[in-house]
């Protein structure tokens, strides 16, 4: 009896003491590892390779944050999450940062206790159909069964789009992205709807990838970005500026190959970016070499894009909206100074 009582009291005390600290960066430094929540399996974005090493576009963003904070891009633990579980995992502190293909929306910024720290991929929602259906436009999808991932903006956009165009449809929803693709492949649905990047990535992995096409229309704006918990401005800044530094590096022509030579550049913008001048590293609570670590170990934005989803990858996606601002795209970084 007394043992039980003692145990209960101890549990109560322990619970009261386990108030998670708000300073994520201190936790990451103390643990020596960054815990990053990513997609469970989206080719090009987040996928373990044959040796179990995580690769992909959002994975590389996490590696960049680890390089910035810990000086080592390999010190990341990846937690694969379904879209349904991703925000809860961030809210509860299970992960330090969420690098998922999550869309930045006002309600997510204001009511989930999280903040999006930028946009690493400008995307839009599209439709994939079987070629044999001879469908040319999303407006021809009357009566179709559509497979979607639960708990995504996809579900909401679909409802909006079909309601505003008075087209009937029925959804089949699964929590797991792979189950959604499988249901489409097996013919349970006529249409697969997701962000067009995900559609292209899924198509790549299908057994009969040539039987399906992605319709030209995009029905929504889907800015995908990393997210952190609210109330930790320091960590928010680190997440935001890691991405912006990668974009700046591309704009200034600094790559993982030439970053060491660039340190002796005369260009003041490059000198500030690489921490030769100015104090951005110190101001962020990071080492002076943090941006060099990011660019050297992971690469600039363009390198990461090309390697994982762009011209050097099997997906061969166009830069499109994700080109730099001075090349007709939307990727724009405020000045480092």
């Amino acid at each position: 009896m007394q043992a039980i009582l003692k145990g209960l009291m101890a549990a109560a005390v322990a619970l009261a003491a386990s108030n998670a600290s708000a300073a994520t960066i201190e936790d990451v430094k103390k643990n020596g590892i960054l815990t990053c929540g990513t997609n469970s399996a989206t080719a090009g974005f987040s996928l373990p390779d044959n040796e179990g090493k995580w690769t992909g576009f959002v994975v590389d963003y996490c590696r960049a944050v680890a390089a910035a904070v810990l000086g080592d891009a390999q010190k990341v633990r990846f937690i694969p999450l379904t879209p349904k579980d991703r925000f809860t995992a961030l809210q509860s502190g299970e992960i330090d940062i969420l690098a998922h293909n999550a869309t930045w929306t006002s309600s997510r910024d204001t009511s989930l206790g999280i903040l999006f720290a930028g946009t690493y991929f400008y995307d839009g929602q599209g439709f994939m159909v079987r070629k044999a259906e001879n469908i040319g436009s999303a407006k021809d999808l009357d009566g179709a069964s559509i497979c979607v991932t639960q708990g995504t903006t996809t579900e909401l956009n679909l409802a909006d789009y079909f309601r505003s165009h008075s087209i009937s449809y029925s959804t089949v929803g699964f929590a797991d992205e792979e189950a959604v693709v499988k249901a489409y492949e097996e013919g349970r649905c006529d249409v697969l709807s997701a962000d067009s990047s995900t559609l292209n990535a899924s198509r790549q992995r299908m057994a009969n990838s040539d039987d399906s096409i992605v319709l030209p229309e995009l029905i929504s704006k889907e800015p995908l970005g990393p997210a952190v918990r609210q109330g930790d401005d320091h960590w928010f800044n680190v997440a935001k500026w890691t991405l912006l530094v990668m974009v700046s590096a591309e704009e200034l022509g600094v790559t993982s190959q030439n970053v060491d030579e660039m340190k002796s550049s005369e260009n003041p913008n490059i000198r500030r970016l690489l921490g030769v001048e100015g104090s951005i590293g110190k101001d962020l609570g990071l080492a002076d070499t943090w941006s060099v670590d990011v660019i050297k170990q992971v690469g600039n934005y363009g390198e990461v894009f090309d390697r994982n989803i762009g011209k050097d990858s099997p997906l061969k996606m166009e830069r499109g909206l994700n080109a730099l601002w001075n090349q007709g795209g939307l990727q724009y970084a405020p000045p480092v100074r």
Binding site: M1, I4, L5, L8, M9, A11, A12, L15, A16, N19, A20, A22, P83, K84, F87, T88, Q91, S92, G93, S107, R108, S111, L112, G113, I114, E133, L141, D142, G143, A144, S145, Q150, G151, T152, E155, L156, L158, A159, D160, R163, Y169, S170, T171, V172, G173, F174, A175, A179, K182, A183, E186, G187, R188, D190, R229, Q230, G231
Partner: protein
């Protein structure tokens, strides 16, 4: 000696040497610390949530949900609220659970009795059913029914056409829609009259049997009243029913009712799995009735069917009902595995999409848990009341 034991002593002497006082003290301490623990968890959770900017209110309940659900038994569209989405989930969970309980009970009783059949083949088939089904995890069975049986069915354009305008494809089973016309009400009234007739005739038959020992053909008369009477009225008012046959247009069939494969897989999986446990409960219940009871009934000249119905089963039910309740509870709770095969039950809609869209994890989970708790408690209550009717009345 006895004088010492019976010596008067104060009931409320506050000595710690008194076992009674110690007992009360311990209970108060335990209850108090349990309460303190619960309160401290609640306060801690609330303050952590506030610190992290996670909403604590239930304000989302009346906000527009904005997503679609493909199978709803109550009105719902994208402009409905999260609260309405919640009720769709509750109704869908109850629907599949109730149907599952009925099917599992029927199948379970048949298999359980078949296991005791003197026919070697019947007994072995029943035994293998039980051994195979109850030893494979339910989730695997659900995935099997969904992925290996229902999804490989042909596409809508290559649908299997069944007689009566029924179509089977990988989008489900599509049956003609029944439309009622003028006069359909009188058929309903005829059915109601037939039901009352049944009860009256049964009452009459009892009386006749009690008085004369003669047995009246209750079953045949009941069937005639229940089916025959409405059927006659149906034709008299000129078949006030028409069928809208489903028609393939574009991607899918239009018109008609659709039974979705997700629902079918869940219902089949749950019923088959639970039936295997119920079969064992039924078998053990029947075997627990002493053999002398059967022999006595036979000696009285009761036919084997009547022996089973009037002597064995009523006694076996006393043993069967309590564990049966647990199986019903299990079936209801297992229906939450719907998430894996895409059936929109409470967990999929509410603890899935709604939780994700609103971010109100604690509130949504608390409500979901309470719903399952409430369903389970009500099921137990009903089954306990049923059990009291069958239990041996102790005098």
């Amino acid at each position: 000696m006895s004088e010492v034991l019976l010596a008067p002593r104060s009931l409320w002497s506050l000595s710690l040497h008194d076992a009674k006082v110690r007992g009360v003290l311990y209970q108060v301490l335990l209850a108090g610390s349990l309460l303190a623990l619960v309160v401290s968890i609640a306060i801690q959770t609330a303050s952590n949530m506030r610190a992290r900017g996670i909403p604590l209110s239930f304000g989302f309940w009346n906000e527009t949900a904005g997503f679609d659900i493909n199978q709803t038994l109550i009105p719902y569209d994208t402009l409905s609220t999260y609260g309405q989405a919640f009720w769709v989930g509750v109704v869908n969970t109850l629907y599949v659970s109730l149907l599952g309980i009925v099917l599992a009970t029927l199948l379970g009783f048949v298999v359980g009795i078949a296991r005791l059949s003197p026919n070697w083949i019947v007994a072995k088939v029943a035994a293998s059913y039980v051994e195979v089904i109850r030893n494979v995890p339910l989730l695997l069975q659900l995935l099997f029914w969904y992925n290996a049986v229902l999804k490989p069915l042909p596409t809508p354009r290559a649908s299997i056409e069944l007689p009566g305008g029924i179509y089977l494809n990988n989008r489900g089973l599509i049956i003609p829609e029944i439309q009622l016309h003028e006069g359909a009400g009188s058929v309903g009234l005829a059915f109601l009259a037939g039901t009352m007739l049944c009860f009256a005739y049964r009452f009459h038959a009892r009386r006749v049997q009690d008085r004369t020992g003669k047995q009246l053909p209750v079953l045949r008369v009941s069937l005639a009243a229940l089916i025959g009477l409405p059927l006659i009225v149906f034709f008299l008012v000129g078949s006030p029913v028409s069928f809208v046959t489903p028609e393939l247009r574009g991607f899918n069939f239009r018109g008609g009712h659709q039974l979705y494969p997700e629902f079918a897989a869940l219902l089949i999986g749950l019923s088959a799995y639970t039936a295997s446990f119920i079969a064992e409960i039924v078998r053990s219940g029947i075997q627990a009735v002493p053999k002398g009871q059967t022999e006595a009934a036979h000696a009285l000249g009761l036919a084997p069917g009547k022996t089973l119905r009037l002597v064995t089963v009523p006694q076996a039910l006393r043993i069967i009902i309590p564990p049966l309740t647990s199986q019903y509870l299990n079936l209801t709770k297992n229906s939450s595995l719907a998430v894996f095969i895409g059936y929109p039950d409470l967990v999929q809609i509410f603890a899935g999409t709604v939780l994700n869209q609103t971010g109100a994890a604690v509130q949504v989970m608390a409500i979901t848990l309470s719903v399952y708790l409430a369903i389970s408690l009500v099921t137990s209550m009903v089954m306990n009341a049923f059990n009291r009717r069958f239990a041996i009345v102790e005098r």
